[in-house]
Symmetry: C2
Subunit: 265 residues, 2 copies
């Protein structure tokens, strides 16, 4: 049977995958994996091979984007191929083209979902997921853009929170940290003066979502910038209007100042 199963590895390490994902891996004719679309800092390919008893072919961005994933497609043309992807497989949009090409070739495709950094960050913060607007990625300084600021402003006008993912270099050797991202927003604020990213604006820094040691800190941008968040991955939330339960959650989970209570309705 011609089949290509996209399996989510979930978050952080080799234990983020679901039982279903393990089962699919064990019964595949060939197993592929990529680890470049998301940081999986605790992931050990050796441990993963021990858990599944399978040899895994690790694919580079070049294999998938320049070579159009032909290795994977050829394997799926001749049996069941499993392709392991960090997080939930299609939250990064990178692999949609591969899935389209497979379907065009008459290969049946399926998805075994994994936990995604997006729902993990929302869940850790205690903020209500249906109160988030459009998500944005803040790029490195050399790719500076005012877009993130504008998206935050637009969401705030609607009372909505903004989840800001922070850029990670293709080689994963470098990552944008919370402090740098906030500095960039403060810079844009100086020019645009919409009052959404001043030193007094509320922000939430989240480091290492999905790991055993996530760190959250909510407070004014000034307070968050004074916090040492340690290693990657890091992300940010710029909240819109807070429900009183959301304020309580930020106080309990993210050390927000208790004065936040009086600022909500």
């Amino acid at each position: 049977m011609k089949e290509l199963v996209f399996v989510g590895l979930g978050l952080h390490d080799e234990k983020g995958i679901s039982l279903k994902g393990i089962e699919e891996t064990k019964t595949a004719d060939q197993v592929f994996m990529e680890l470049y679309t998301n940081l999986m800092l605790g992931f050990s390919t050796k441990n993963f091979a021990e858990i599944t008893g399978r040899q895994v072919c690790i694919l580079s961005r070049h294999d998938l984007e320049e070579e159009n994933g032909n290795l994977v497609l050829d394997a799926a043309d001749n049996g069941k191929a499993v392709f392991l992807v960090p997080g939930d497989p299609f939250i990064a949009t990178t692999h949609v083209a591969l899935r389209i090409e497979a379907e065009k070739r008459g290969i049946r495709t399926r998805i075994v979902h994994g936990s995604s950094v997006i729902s993990a960050i929302m869940g850790l913060s205690g903020l209500h997921n249906y109160k988030f607007g459009k998500t944005v990625t803040i790029p490195f300084a050399e790719n500076f853009s005012e877009t993130p600021y504008r998206v935050i402003a637009q969401n705030m006008t609607l009372g909505l929170h903004t989840l800001c993912l922070l850029d990670i270099a293709a080689d994963q050797e470098r990552f944008l940290c919370i402090n740098e991202a906030l500095s960039m927003l403060l810079e844009v604020e100086k020019k645009n003066k919409l009052g959404i990213a001043t030193l007094e604006s509320l922000a939430i820094g989240i480091a290492r979502a999905g790991s055993d040691s996530p760190l959250l800190r909510a407070g004014s941008i000034k307070q968050v910038m004074a916090c040492d968040f340690g290693g990657p991955p890091q992300s940010l939330i710029l909240p819109g209007e807070l429900h009183f339960m959301e304020a309580e959650a930020l106080i309990a989970f993210a050390k927000a100042p208790v004065a936040l209570r009086s600022a909500v309705r």
Copy 2:
């Protein structure tokens, strides 16, 4: 050690949980579970007990919301309690109050994430996750509200997609289906005439996201309403502006009419 670990069960059945979640369950002093915040149609508590070797205490909405989860908190006061929750534990906001109460009592809380229906639906559709605006839930007819229509309109103005979750009765005996939800949107359209939910508007129906047999169908509301989606859970996407790759994905994965190609930029 006083500890409360929220563990996501992921989607559909007992194999949606991560290896990490299984490990936490096995090492808990007491294990609790609720199955009412999300449909887990393939879930067997018997199979789950066989996998983990643990007896699980199933909690009702009454236990958690009227009794404030005291069973769980008392267990966590005396050791390590694991609380198993469908999907990603805090995507339903139901348990945030329990986590806040635990932290107030000096109980350490942790989260082991699971795959969420929200990222699953976005991933299945092939639409870009960062192009979704605010998510909305469409209620049963007896709780009729114009809010979903207004949220869709607001998102569309910004070019964004809207994920519409469809209501499920507390006893899980009844669920709002795609057809009924679209009928309600058409009704509101008649009155408001914003042109966002006419018989010709593009919609995507998604049934059983996260199961082995998800069904997707993209087309005009008229075409989607003519499709038999079968059992629950069901959900809807009302897309905003489509990128050409999103249109290709809807054609390949959701049988959208190929004419969609000419409608995108």
